[in-house]
Amino acid sequence: MNNTTTIPGIQKGYYPLKILIIILLLLGLGLFPFISGNRFYISLITEMMIYGLLAMSLDVLLGYTGALSFMHNAYLGISAYVVGLFLIHISPTSLWLACFTGIIFTSLVALPVGWVQVRTGGLAFALLTLAFGMMFHTIVWKWYGVTGGDDGLMGMPNPDISLFGWNLGNTGNPVTIYLFTLIIVTICFFLTRRIINSPFGAVLEAIRENEDRASFVGINVRMYKLLGWMLACILASIAGALFILYKGYIGPSTMSAFAGAGVLMMVLLGGLGSLWGAFVGAAMFIYIQDYISTMSEHWEIYLGLVVIFLVLFLPTGFVGLGEHLKRFRKG
């Protein structure tokens, strides 16, 4: 119990203030739809949470195992397609089975890519994910009969969310899907946090810091890297299942390589190697993009400038902002 090795970058221990903040935050988010009836903000926050989960999974991959992936949104897409197809063609009511199938199928796709990843690694792998990502994107676009091509997946039913025979509401209702997303994302966050703070997470970081040294200590480097990869992909596939339940629609543009760079942006904006930072990054990125694209038809100029300034002047992301301020206060 007491042999906790402190790992730089991860704050261990449960501080009362932290817990209070988390409880208040969750309470606030949970009550939000009942306070504000505006469905646009409910939708926007749902989207932020889903992309936050995706960004967090990429953060696990990049911040803890050091593997850069441009195709993370492709896993979100694959999972969303599988869940959607399951609900359309096999059973329109069995939500949990559909999500389970989505996660399993995505893992099966991710496994061979992960196999390649542990053997190459580094920038070569990052570019390989670019190729795989574009391949999946093109396949989805071309496989007209199954995926609906560019039209996207049509005719998604809205299944009820039920647990142990207890009906919690319909996924067609924005408030229900909002709360459902909140609960699932919270569970995923704490589970991931638990995993990352366990010895397993420590091993992953040891590998990230120095692969050779880790292998000398007797760690099966490839095995652990593959496990880290699979963890990230499973989290992404959960985000995918939530995505299709929320939007009722999935199309190939969600899976393109440029959208993948957007997810990477979210992680860096939030700060690398901190799980909650990914959520902050996703929320900021989605809000900025939404806000700027309404401003003028030349929104690309402003978005580009914002990205450039953030990378130049906020090098450690939003998480690092606190450190900056502390240093500033100390003089």
Partner: protein, 428 residues
């Protein structure tokens, strides 16, 4: 230790919440008094609010959401659509005594983006109707979400046949649908013996509209005995910039005409490259969509001889059309295009329907839209009560060197023939 601490905190916070609920007798008296006051205050406020709303209603603008692509491959078309809708709003001025306010959002031709923007327009900005939209994928994604949004949606540039009778709140008033264009083009080809004898090579952009357009043309052409070289037609990715391999393929196939279903601004690009390869004059280009005038200008002489059916061209000669062109030219200083004019007409149909409905209720507007018609630059445009899609007359055009004109255009779409609405169908 930590765990104990954790549990303590939870207990503390829970007891805090409960303690707020408990109150002593002394407090409860004051509270009940306060409560009464609050109730009274509330009543006054509601009264005042109601009066205020009544006083303000006539001036409060009626918000309409405009969804057009302003970035991405069809940005130019999107801009022209926006111009058309803006012009209609300005000319109409007020609806139900309220000024029209257009809120424009960029769809980026990405369906998920368009859905998010539509949610923003309806939920946040309280738009009473949506108009615009380029590309079938975007249109269908919006239609899928229209139950949630619960506002009427008039698309002006979605050509897919899936839109016929799709949803009671989804309408089309704009560019000819795929089946209508195919009928127009085949009728046009049949009327010209030199075109009838040719064998056609079919090439489309690889997305749902392209596929639909290609298949409809092939089916109809075969019925009419027009020769098709490749019934398993080519689907080129939208990103294609270098058409040389397709052009080589056309050369190799021995076809002497090409039926192309490309996004408007790619039509002159393909024509230009075909002309570079010396195909101009030898291979006739028949298009399933109207090429944009600005793109034709860029292509210049290479774009002569593109044949095809569309709603309108500035060559259409009637008082209404000539007047409209000049108004558009004065306002935007852009050559008036098909995209602009049919978006204008679609917007007019929507505004008139809201006026006719007498309220901004979604169902009332939708009921008013069914069967409504507008006399615009290309004649009467009527939204069918049966399938929510428009019927209108159209023109068959061929691009060639333009005569003297106020816009300074060098290439134009000469009107060869006018189709009546009944000729193009579909039957009601």
């Amino acid at each position: 230790m930590k765990r104990i601490f954790f549990v303590l905190i939870i207990f503390l916070s829970i007891s805090l919440i409960f303690s707020c609920g408990k109150k002593t007798d002394d407090q409860s008296e004051t509270i009940s008094k306060l409560k009464q006051e609050i109730v009274e205050l509330k009543a006054t406020i509601t009264k005042l609010e109601a009066e205020l709303v009544l006083a303000r209603t006539p001036k409060e603008p009626l918000k309409i959401g405009v969804l057009v692509p302003l970035t991405g491959i069809v940005a130019q078309g999107g801009l022209e659509m926006k111009y058309g809708i803006e012009m209609a709003a300005e000319e109409k001025g007020t609806v139900l005594g309220r000024p029209i306010e257009l809120l424009v959002e960029d769809t980026q031709v990405k369906p998920p983006v368009a859905v998010t923007k539509a949610e923003k327009l309806v939920y946040k900005d309280d738009c009473k109707a949506l108009i615009g939209v380029f590309s079938s994928g975007v249109g269908l994604a919006l239609a899928k979400n229209i139950d949630k949004l619960n506002v009427p949606f008039v698309s002006t540039h979605v050509m897919t046949t899936k839109f016929y009778g799709l949803h009671p709140l989804v309408f089309r008033s704009g560019q000819l649908a795929n089946d209508q264009t195919a009928v127009g083009n085949v009728k046009g080809i049949m009327a010209r013996p030199d075109l009838m004898k040719r064998s056609y090579y079919v090439i489309v952009h690889d997305y749902s509209w392209g596929h639909d357009a290609g298949e409809r043309f092939i089916a109809l052409a075969k019925e009419n005995g027009i020769k098709i070289v490749n019934e398993d037609y080519d689907k080129a990715p939208i990103a294609t910039k270098d058409w040389s391999s397709y052009i080589s393929k056309i050369k190799a196939s021995g076809a002497d005409a090409v039926y192309m279903a490309f996004i408007t601004n790619v039509i002159p690009v393909f024509a230009k490259q075909a002309s570079d390869f010396g195909l101009q004059g030898k291979v006739k280009l028949v298009s399933a969509a109207a090429p944009g005038p600005l793109e034709l200008e860029a292509g210049g002489e290479a774009c002569y001889g593109i044949f095809g059916a569309s709603d309108w061209s500035w060559d259409v000669d009637n008082a209404n059309s000539n007047d409209w062109e000049m108004r558009f030219w004065k306002k935007f200083n852009t050559i008036p295009s098909d995209a602009a004019v049919h978006s204008y007409v679609g917007a007019m149909n929507l505004f008139n329907a809201i006026e006719k409905a007498g309220s901004t209720d979604a169902k009332a507007i939708a009921d008013a839209l069914r069967g409504i018609s507008f006399d615009g630059p290309y004649g009467n445009v009527r939204i069918s009560a049966k399938d929510n899609c428009m019927r209108n007359s159209a023109v068959l055009t061929e691009t060639m060197a333009a005569p003297e004109n106020p816009f300074g255009a060098k290439v134009y779409m000469k009107v060869l023939k006018t189709f009546t609405a009944d000729e193009l169908g579909p039957p009601e």
